[in-house]
């Protein structure tokens, strides 16, 4: 992993893990307060926003780790030249899709003007939805940082699904450190 990819990976780990823990805390607070007779009015809305943030920032991390679900049977069944041609096509479409989503996400921020969340009026919708254009940019960047490794895999004919299976088995069979 390059320095840039490693840095991005660490940053996204920190962000997504914080969001996940915050989500668990919010849900548990929602249950506890409901049973104490003082339901939290912001619980559903904030939890839903946290899920969306986990989705888009986590999608960046998943891109960096090549974890998105896909079907590579055709690509890796082709001869070398065919693999390279399809690889270029796939990368171009991937980048185009997230550039469009990023642009759309950026453009709607202006439309929200002063709109806020219903239950938390001091949080603006443009802040909440700002995660979309930022994440789209991060996803494109993540894809670019992994491009050399994936290109090498395509040249070598090494299917990422094979890599995932190998990694999971290696991890599951690795000896564990004794408990201190």
């Amino acid at each position: 992993m390059s320095v840039l990819a490693r840095g991005l990976d660490l940053l996204l780990q920190a962000v997504t893990l914080t969001l996940l823990i915050a989500l668990a805390v919010v849900v548990l607070m929602g249950v506890a307060f409901r049973y104490s007779g003082n339901s939290l009015i912001w619980y559903d809305e904030v939890a839903s926003v946290l899920l969306a943030w986990i989705t888009f920032t986590g999608a960046g991390l998943a891109t960096l780790r090549d974890a998105h679900l896909g079907f590579n049977g055709l690509l890796f069944g082709l001869p070398r030249r065919g693999r390279i041609a399809l690889f270029v096509l796939v990368e171009a479409i991937f980048a185009a899709v997230f550039v469009v989503i990023g642009w759309g996400g950026w453009a709607i921020l202006g439309v929200f003007a002063g709109d806020t969340l219903i239950s938390v009026p001091w949080v603006t919708r443009s802040f909440v939805q700002g995660v979309l254009p930022v994440s789209a940019a991060v996803i494109v960047l993540a894809r670019l940082t992994t491009l050399p490794r994936r290109y090498a895999d395509v040249l070598a004919g090494y299917d990422p699904e094979r890599r995932e299976i190998d990694d999971e088995i290696a991890r599951a069979t690795a000896p564990r450190e004794p408990q201190p």
Binding site: V27, V49, T55, G58, L61, W103, I169
Partner: protein, 427 residues
Amino acid sequence: MTEALILLSMFAMIAVGLPIAVAILGAALIGVWALNGHLGFLNAALSIFDGATSFPLIAIPLFILAGALMNTGGISTRLIAFVSALIGFMRGGLAMVNVGVSLFFAEISGSAVADVAAIGSVLIPAMKKKGFSPYFAAAVTSSSASLAIIIPPSIPMILYGALSDTSIVRLFVAGIVPGLLGGFSMMALCYYFAVRYDLPREEAFSLRRLGRATKDAGWALILPVIILGGIFGGIVTATEGAGLAVVAALLIGVFVYREIRLGDLYHALIDGVVQTAVVMLLVAASAVLGLYLTETQLPQRLAASITALTENRIAVLMIINLFLFFVGMVLHGAAAIILTVPIFMPLVHQIGIDPIQFGVLLTLNIALGQQTPPVASVLMTACSIARTDVWRTTRTNLPFIGVLAAILILVTYVPQVSLALVGFFYD
């Protein structure tokens, strides 16, 4: 015509190796652009964000988090020991232990590959060592792990429930009878093969050992009872039940078993976040596709053209099952659900199929799809651990695939199999 071309472009993008979520998004963006020009992109940005804010889906990261805590907190190993003490004395007992353990654990982390790697890396070598054929070991591990996706908590069912606006709690209840039927059938099949091929017992039955394993696994056994009892009893929602599962697994792991290793937990959590994001990006992308499908009324037109052919429920269900089976062969589970639910729901409502029954049927098709190459990551993981050839393992796996297919046929044509328990609890 344009709609057909856009859907074809989506399948073409999947075929050439684009991640499925990106292919769905790409096709949907072309569609909304064709309908509304660049304003369609603004709508798409709104839809993709709204698609990721579905409250019921919050249960997915929470169940994944609970699964990570259970796996790293010593709960899994105690359950394996308990199941082993309970049924390991029977002929071919280790194969049955495999089925039993898979029913508890498979799919709990949200990544079928990671779960099969965790279970299979312990049980497949143990089975080989005891004299089971590696093909048999891989086949049992793979098919029982797939069956587990209809047993609660089931992430595919949460996905289906959120997409089709169906009660997730009732879906969980509906999966219990078919899941147990399938589990017992697979165990019976293991016993049959064990007698036929003179396979060994794990060890002699010992009441003392069972007592010790039960005591040791007591908290682990109470955990699902509390959580599922809370959900089924209407005390908490599925999402809140998932939150309670996190707390319970954390308390047991830290204070009772004291086995949670921070390093392992950290990696499991990060993997869980990644799995959540992978599934949720598919959901969010499907919301953009849904925007396009709604504007074009394509699902309604498809429903009308199928019902113009036949309104016979048995025939329509057969057509749906065949379609889902082929989709399951070439797509991963979550992607198959996300793509087919918006298309089939109008048809399901039109011919009067209960959406709960359809949810179990759909999930079973996903389970079958995980066993049938070319896209069969669960089977391939089991084969990799057992070091067996996928096609030869598939031949050994055929009777187990047969069990999955038989349960699917039962659920399809005998609605009571999935709905009786739901009716008993809630009607």
